[in-house]
Symmetry: C2
Subunit: 328 residues, 2 copies
């Protein structure tokens, strides 16, 4: 028996960083996924292999330890194995049955695209199925959020919600609730990314310091981001393409003013606009990572232009969330 | 007899665009100058030649007309001749004496660096001297401002004030007055520019439209620029280098949010920061033109880095304003 679970990554469309100060945000599941495939092993061990990362190891569930077999060139990426260990432990039930867990990624890791949430959600879905548990999506999302809390210390519900349910969401002021934003059709989004990586914790800290040092400048910036985000909900529902793009561009500049832009991100954002994107902005914490561009009728042109210097892919909205397939 | 007048260009350090809505601004005279050299002609005609632009022609003072002799590759630059005509007419007195006016520029034209004010101020100073008028600096500045009003339809006092008096100025809220900001020592500034040119009128109009369309986003942005500008006065007086740089970076992002940044300007701004500038930002209307970078101890490095793709020069504060030299 082979079980494969998949879960989409995400991109923040509006409101990153401001969300830390109780401002609203809009995020979208993108149809680039993490795939987790499980096969039974003859022994009682749990082996994990992440294809493309040249990273594998054994999970010791009793000691709650990861034993990495090999170290790829980016050892910081081995942190992803902690999410998998924690996820497996969440849905381990009864006598341990050995498993081979193989992971395939369509999302770059550490680029602000929710790769860890996608892997976590798909792992929980696959392992719970393997262990003959029937979890609801709500239960999967709850477990996944707890995994992120355990591994990261802090986590918003945005990533795990989107990897579980798909679609687009509005996180309201002070994170009081998460509402779906339901649009007809799709969003012509392109993600561009480089190898440059920001450290989310350090970036959040740098914005906090900026807010403390220049409150009279930074507080209006956060208010402007709030206004842009709330405006964008209407623009998205009304499919007002020009407005969606302009609001993204304003949000990009405000993120630049908060100090989380870089030369690489800026290059990709402006390359996208020159190639016909109606809007483009940093997505996620910045300091490296990714930009997202809104490209009605220009998806291929924008991808081609960004690819001259960086990497890019079409990031259509994923209506689907986590899915499980069983092959007998 | 040969008369040479020189006047410095300027760069806006803080507050461009917001100044249109009554916010304060800080600007600085930069020691890149326009030189206007006058010689007597045997006939009664007034000939003007702008070296480096391959642009020359006769001024018909009676008909108030410019007769261009040649058209360089950038015919839009011939507009500069209207400033010269208007300036000559302001200080024409008595019977017309023919003149050859030769202009040398250390400032790129149309790049937001006050080239037209510098040329206007130097022309007024040189021609008034030639006509044996003794104008005070206040009179030169007043004439120059009137020239800008005539030629452009609208003008702030910033450019003509700096080209006349030199130094650094703070234009207070609602342009109520202009105060000098007196600092000891110099400012290690670098200007970077490309051939890309923005149209100031169109850019001002685009910001106005943005303000009307997204008031809840744009008004806080203008307030943030005001706060940054007022903070910067203290930072400059205290020579708080880190703060000056950080405030410039915030101002840059806010200008990006207003939609006046471009891929080229952004590249230069981030190139400067990577090369060690403590801060960098668009200077002037944007949409092309120039960036200014604050580079204590890193002037040469920043110039070298920008020059890999674009043009750059050291733009030290010019304490001097307009100057006239007479060679018998």
């Amino acid at each position: 028996m082979e079980i494969t679970a998949s879960a989409p990554g995400k991109a923040i469309l509006f409101g990153e960083h401001a969300v830390v100060y109780g401002k609203p945000a809009i995020a979208v599941a993108v149809d680039r996924k993490a795939y987790v495939t499980l096969k039974k092993r003859e022994d009682k061990r749990v082996h994990v292999k992440i294809n493309d990362l040249n990273l594998s190891g054994f999970l010791d569930l009793e000691k709650s330890e990861v034993k990495v077999e090999n170290l790829n060139k980016k050892p910081e990426k081995k942190g992803i194995l902690n999410y998998i260990l924690s996820a497996v432990l969440k849905v381990q039930k009864g006598a341990l049955q050995g498993m081979d867990i193989e992971i395939d990624l369509e999302i770059p890791i550490g680029a602000g695209l929710g790769s860890s949430a996608a892997i976590t959600v798909a792992t929980i879905a696959a392992v719970s199925k393997f262990n003959r548990m029937e979890l609801s999506k709500d239960e999967i999302a709850e477990h996944a959020h707890n995994v992120e809390l355990e591994v990261q210390g802090a986590a918003s519900h945005i990533d795990t919600t989107l990897s579980t349910y798909g679609g687009m969401i509005y996180l309201s002021k002070n994170a009081e609730d998460i509402k779906p934003i339901k649009i007809s059709g799709n969003l012509p989004l392109v993600v561009g990314y480089t190898e440059e990586r920001g450290n989310t914790g350090e970036l959040v800290e740098s914005v906090k310091l900026k807010k403390e040092t220049y409150p009279e400048a930074v507080n209006p910036i956060l208010n402007a981001i709030e206004s842009v985000t709330d405006d964008a909900v209407d623009a998205l529902l009304e499919k007002d393409e020009k407005r969606i793009g302009e609001l993204m561009n304003i949000n990009h500049g405000l993120l630049d003013a908060l100090g989380v832009n870089t030369g690489d991100l800026s290059r990709m954002a402006y390359t996208a606009r020159r190639a016909g994107a109606l809007g483009s902005k940093i997505t996620g914490a910045g300091g490296g990572g990714s930009i997202i561009a809104y490209c009605p009728g220009k998806v291929e042109e924008v991808i081609k232009s960004i690819k001259k210097m960086d990497k890019a892919f079409n990031a259509a909205l994923s209506v689907d969330g986590v899915k499980v397939k069983v092959k007998k």
